[in-house]
Amino acid sequence: MRRHFLGAVALVAALTAGAPAVLAQPAENTIRWFSDTEPANMSPYFNSTREGVIFGFHVWDAPLYRNLQTGEYEMHLAESVRIVDDTTIELRIRDGIIAHNGDTVDARDVVATVEFALDPANQLTNLGRTRWLSGAELVDNRTVRLRTPAPFGPWQEYLTTLLVIPRASLAGGRDGMGRNPIGTGPYRVTEVSPGQRIVFERFDRYFGGAKGQPEVERLIFRRVPEANTRVAELLTGGVDWIWRVTPDQARNLKRRRGVKVASGGTVRFHYLQMDAAGRTGTEDNPFRDVRVRRAVNHAIDREGIVRNLVGEGADPLHTPCHPDQFGCVQEGITRYEYNPARARELLAEAGYPNGFTVTMGGYRERPWGEAIIGNLRAVGITANLQWSQYDAYQRATREAQLRLAYGSWGSTSLFDIANSTSYFFRGSADDLTRDPEVMALLERGDNSTDPAARREAYTAAIRRITEQAYWAPLWTFPLTYAYNAQLEFSPAPDEVPRFYRARWNR
């Protein structure tokens, strides 16, 4: 059905190529943006959607901010940060931070946020922002000490996601925060009409910090689930900004006057996981054999699939992490070029001259998965696709029901392999490899606060993973945006558009 939809939008865009250009509406200094998903709860601690991450960046603030141009961490809510000991980080919060309800925000709000998040009674659903912490202690009204259960290497990266919720808002709990979100960020939420619209107004008392002062006065978000409808709205001036534009839509939109199309990278990547540990059973499990895993890697035409299907902005991937992430070394790794003949040789050497049959789980970007299946079939591996919702897919991999899993990982937009490679190779239920050497190396990297020591440990881990071909990394995930050409907007490389940096050219 989706393919028919995509065909339809191509048709619509092509047939209307001569129609009037979109109507620019910068006069109201408002950006209307449509997306396919709407966070059910506005609070960043009670939703895990990408749109929720974007709301988080616009309505709330964290102690640190990652400068996407330099890669450096800049002070934001915090005016200074220091390591007290291996498990204690001290933050000094800026003076004069005002919340959207007029309250003053200081270190007490940081403590309250951490305590709220760590209390099981509050039933958080997004635990990623605080799972690395064990507590917070107030030193004085401007100073707070954060505790970690063990030395934690990527603490700076995680301090960019620790969004501070004003105490008055925390008192409302899950539902209160969802209905009436209060933050400190560049935009305050003035209307939450689930399913209808969410309106954000520029917060004139915003302190600025590393984000700076926003120019656009108002943001209006609306969920429009159907991609073709979003494109039609863009073409008729009903919306100013859309994303997740497919390659064929992008090709047609580029021909339109008044519409700008831009592609950007993300920290998301796609991969194939293989049950090297034999969790699904060791008997007749081809993926126990490194030659089979290498054959799978040689069988996949990454360049071809990227060029023909994935689209602009994507790159073939050879590591179990995104190259932009800290520790994701590209030097000295084992790369597997597309070589079906070599794949067949390796399979024959491993005792599978006629290939084998396996079930491959998947849950998103199905056409790309089908292309992989075609590549595997060409070398004799018959992969039967088991397509499901994300939770069913994840349960199947965690409960060792899948030998081959086609997945995607967004790293929560964090630029550190502690949130990618370590996630998949440190012995958790998602680890289909269970290599003690890799686990030890990653643990060493994650638990060190010395960047050089971390890099050294991660380098060894990545080299070992690629040499053993535990995964078949596939490609980085591109994101294509289409927007009113009068809007000055730059795609960010972390899947989080910064509307507070956008402005209208009038």
Partner: protein, 305 residues
């Protein structure tokens, strides 16, 4: 009649509970609510913490029993994702779906009745075949495709109608036509079949023999009898429109019950799914009841039992 109505309502409750039990089990067997709640970037440890905090590690039968006990007391619970009660979510979305289905049904009837009557009166002529052709096209064309064609023509090319949303009456025109167009063929064929049968009856011949004008014979004597099964079907179609408008709501970004149901099923937000199921079961019972009453009014033989 009161006893009949009460029996129907009781049946609705029983059907609702049975359907909700099956839906609950299917939802829980086919996926993992804790993973859905935690989101895509959550670690296995996060998922386990959520499973424990939300009591999802308890036996399924206990979880269902808890929900059922509250539901029987009139409390449908709270959404696991939205900061709202299930009742509130349904109440805010229902007007959109009711408006859409109501307009869709009116459009379906406006298309189906005249075409069905004309096709029957001009049986086996090109008019009949053209009407049947329209019916075939209406049923064969997927409604999402028809909806996109509508967007292309009236939204994009002509710019007459708003493309998505539910802010005004104009926003409902394209979705309602799409919905009505898809439902019209079955009503039209039934109207045509009923009219063909009735028009060969003795009392119609008698009516003509008495010298009554054709308009009176067709609209007063023939249609009144031919329409009885159409009324029953209309109630079923309206129920289908209420519960099955998810594709239309998706294409036109209408935030109604259909889309809410789809979203809740995808997320395994079981209190919302259960609430909607109960509502849909209730719809069908009420609509069937209304159809029975309407038929009894139209046909005295039904009244006399």
């Amino acid at each position: 009649m009161l006893r009949f109505t009460l029996r129907r309502l009781l049946l609705a409750v029983v059907v609702g509970i049975a359907v909700s039990a099956i839906a609950f089990m299917l939802l829980r067997i086919s996926g993992d609510l804790a993973i859905a709640l935690a989101g895509e970037d959550a670690s296995p440890a996060d998922v386990e913490r959520i499973r424990e905090e939300y009591g999802l590690n308890r036996p399924i039968i206990v979880q269902y029993g808890e929900w059922l006990w509250r539901a029987l007391q009139g409390d449908l619970g709270r959404s696991l994702f939205y900061p709202e009660s299930v009742a509130n979510l349904i109440v805010t979305r229902l007007p959109v779906t009711l408006s859409l289905a109501g307009m869709g049904l009116v459009i379906a009837i406006l298309i189906a009745l005249p075409l069905g009557i004309i096709a029957a009166l001009k049986r086996n002529t090109w008019v009949d075949r053209a009407a049947l052709g329209i019916a075939v096209i209406g049923q064969a064309m997927p409604n999402f495709w028809f909806g996109l064609l509508m967007i292309f023509l009236f939204g994009l090319a002509l710019g007459w109608l708003p493309i998505s949303g539910s802010d005004s009456f104009a926003h409902f025109i394209m979705p309602a036509i799409t919905l009505g167009w898809f439902s019209a063929p079955v009503l039209m064929r039934l109207t045509r079949g009923g009219m063909v049968e009735v028009m060969t009856s003795d009392y119609i011949r008698t009516a003509y023999a008495k010298g009554l004008p054709a308009r009176v014979v067709v609209l007063k004597h023939a249609l009144r009898n031919a329409i009885v099964p159409v009324v029953a079907l209309c109630s079923v179609q309206f129920g289908n429109m209420l519960s099955g408008s998810v594709v239309i709501e998706t294409v036109f970004a209408l935030q109604g019950i259909g889309y809410l149901a789809w979203e809740a099923i995808s997320r395994r937000d079981f209190p919302v799914v259960q609430g909607i199921l109960l509502l849909v079961a209730l719809f069908y019972v009420v609509l069937t009841l209304l159809a029975d009453i309407a038929n009894a009014w139209l046909d005295p033989r039904i009244r006399r039992g």
